[in-house]
Amino acid sequence: MSDRDSAGWRSAVANGDFVIQQCSTCDTRRFPPREFCSVCHSRTWQWQPVEPTGTIESWIVDHTFAPGTTIVMVRLTNAPTCVMYGRWLAETAPSAGQTAHAVFTDDALIDWH
């Protein structure tokens, strides 16, 4: 699933780049990608590579919609206003505050371990 706001990010991920948007006017970092900066309303931005790590903010273990999948909510280390989701690939269960490392998937998504 991709739309006109997410396609660019998916392309970057497909190239192995872990990026978020950064406003060229006020430097606010944002994710998910949006054309306008919500702080200064500038439409000028660039992709900003950031460290592909974050901390686990929360997680669920699904039994219904994607049975057996642990889905994590990760707050990025170098962009703490940005939150990403993904599947948890580690053998042990996640815990709050734990450091998570991004994993690029074959279909241009980000999972975590």
């Binding site: 699933m1 998910p32 997680w59 669920i60 909510m73 939150v83």
Partner: protein, 381 residues
């Protein structure tokens, strides 16, 4: 400082009637039929007829009959005001708010607000494509359903504040006990905390009994001027405050344990000139047990982090007296409003809260889509 909005229409409009279809897992009829049945019941309750109606309002997510179909189906004489709002539970109470605005502004005199859904037999939540832009960053991971999203926020609350499964369970048990006194309720057999803990996982930390009932049914309420309502059979229930909006974080906020209701509630109370201590009965949007926890905090009934303890304390404000969406049925918000009306009229039978004069009724608090809405209703005294 809370902005003062809508204060100019305080108590100028009222709810004069409520109507229901039966609630079930398979209505066997269309949402159009459900809508018509609930609207006719609400008009009958209000002592009015379809000829009196000049406004129709609903919200839906592409899953139900629109006002432009319902009006002609009931032979309404050219309604002068329609509202067909896109949205789910978060806008459920804003529909009433907007009807109140239309009536207060003289755009319409009698507006029937309704919600009709076959949420079990036809359109199950989380099984269809998520229309929100956020879905592009969530759905590919299997993160598609409100149950998962609320479970995610519930976990954050548990890890930050120590909220326990037993707190969620107490809400499920309390609401089921209320439903036992409500002939309309789908689930009336009492449950225990052990039943809650033994129910199967949906998405950890949520069990089956954390989740509302996917329901087929409809409910309608009649909004008119307070003046006109005073000439109708039932005591008017005044729309004292009606707020919608809130939610400055369209994706994920800085603190997952705070809902959009925290931004809305000061505005709501300011409009009413009332506070949480004035609320005699609260119908709190309970798509999941956790949504009750976070709203007790964000509507000011207890301190942040203490919503679970408060809900389970046994001394909480009487809430979800019809059994809520967890046990009465899930009509996406409007059945909370109808129950609040019943409590303020004093006709809630075995489940009546003695002396109830002020009610709070709330919408989905904005975790899924960033806005919410709520009403404060008051007995006409």
């Amino acid at each position: 400082m809370a902005k003062r909005l809508l204060g100019g229409i305080r108590d100028r409009t009222a709810i004069a009637g409520v109507g229901y279809t039966s609630f079930s897992k398979d209505s066997g009829v269309s949402t159009l039929t459900l809508a018509c049945e609930a609207i006719l019941a609400a008009l009958d309750d209000a002592g009015l007829t379809p000829d009196d109606v000049d406004g129709l309002a609903t919200h839906r997510v592409g899953d139900s009959a629109p006002p432009s179909t319902v009006g002609p189906a009931l032979g309404l004489p050219a309604p002068s005001w329609y509202l067909d709002q896109f949205g789910g539970g978060s806008v459920s109470h804003s529909v009433i708010a907007q009807a109140a605005l239309a009536v207060a502004a003289g755009m319409a005199d009698v507006v029937v607000c309704y919600r009709a859904i076959n949420a079990r037999s036809e359109f199950r939540m989380g099984r269809a494509a998520n229309p929100a832009p956020e879905a592009a960053f969530q759905a590919p991971y299997g993160y598609v359903a409100p149950a998962q999203m609320y479970a995610m926020y519930a976990r954050a609350h548990m890890t930050k504040y120590g909220t326990q499964p037993e707190h969620f369970g107490a809400i499920a048990v309390t609401e089921r006990a209320a439903a036992a006194k409500n002939p309309r309720a789908l689930m009336r057999t009492p449950i225990t905390l052990d039943d809650y803990l033994a129910s199967r996982w949906i998405a950890e930390p949520f069990r089956l009994l954390d989740c509302c009932l996917e329901t087929d049914g409809a409910c309608a309420v009649v909004v008119t001027t307070t003046e006109r309502a005073r000439d109708l059979p039932h005591p008017p229930v005044l729309i004292t405050a009606a707020a919608f909006g809130g939610g400055s974080h369209p994706f994920d906020g800085p603190d997952m344990t705070v809902s959009a209701a925290a931004e809305l509630s000061p505005r709501l109370y300011s409009m009413a000139g009332l506070g949480p201590a004035d609320v005699d009965v609260a119908q709190i949007y309970d798509c999941f047990t956790y949504s009750v926890v976070v709203q007790f905090e964000d509507y000011g009934f207890c301190a942040k982090g203490e919503g679970g303890l408060y809900a389970a304390s046994g001394s909480a404000v009487p809430y979800n007296t019809h059994g809520g969406f967890l046990s009465e049925g899930y009509v996406h918000g409007i059945n909370h409003i109808a129950e609040a009306v019943s409590q303020l009229r004093g006709d809630a039978g075995d489940r009546q809260v003695p002396g109830a004069e002020v009610a709070l009724s709330t919408a989905q608090p904005g975790y899924v889509l960033a806005a919410t809405s709520a009403l404060i209703l008051r007995k006409d005294t």
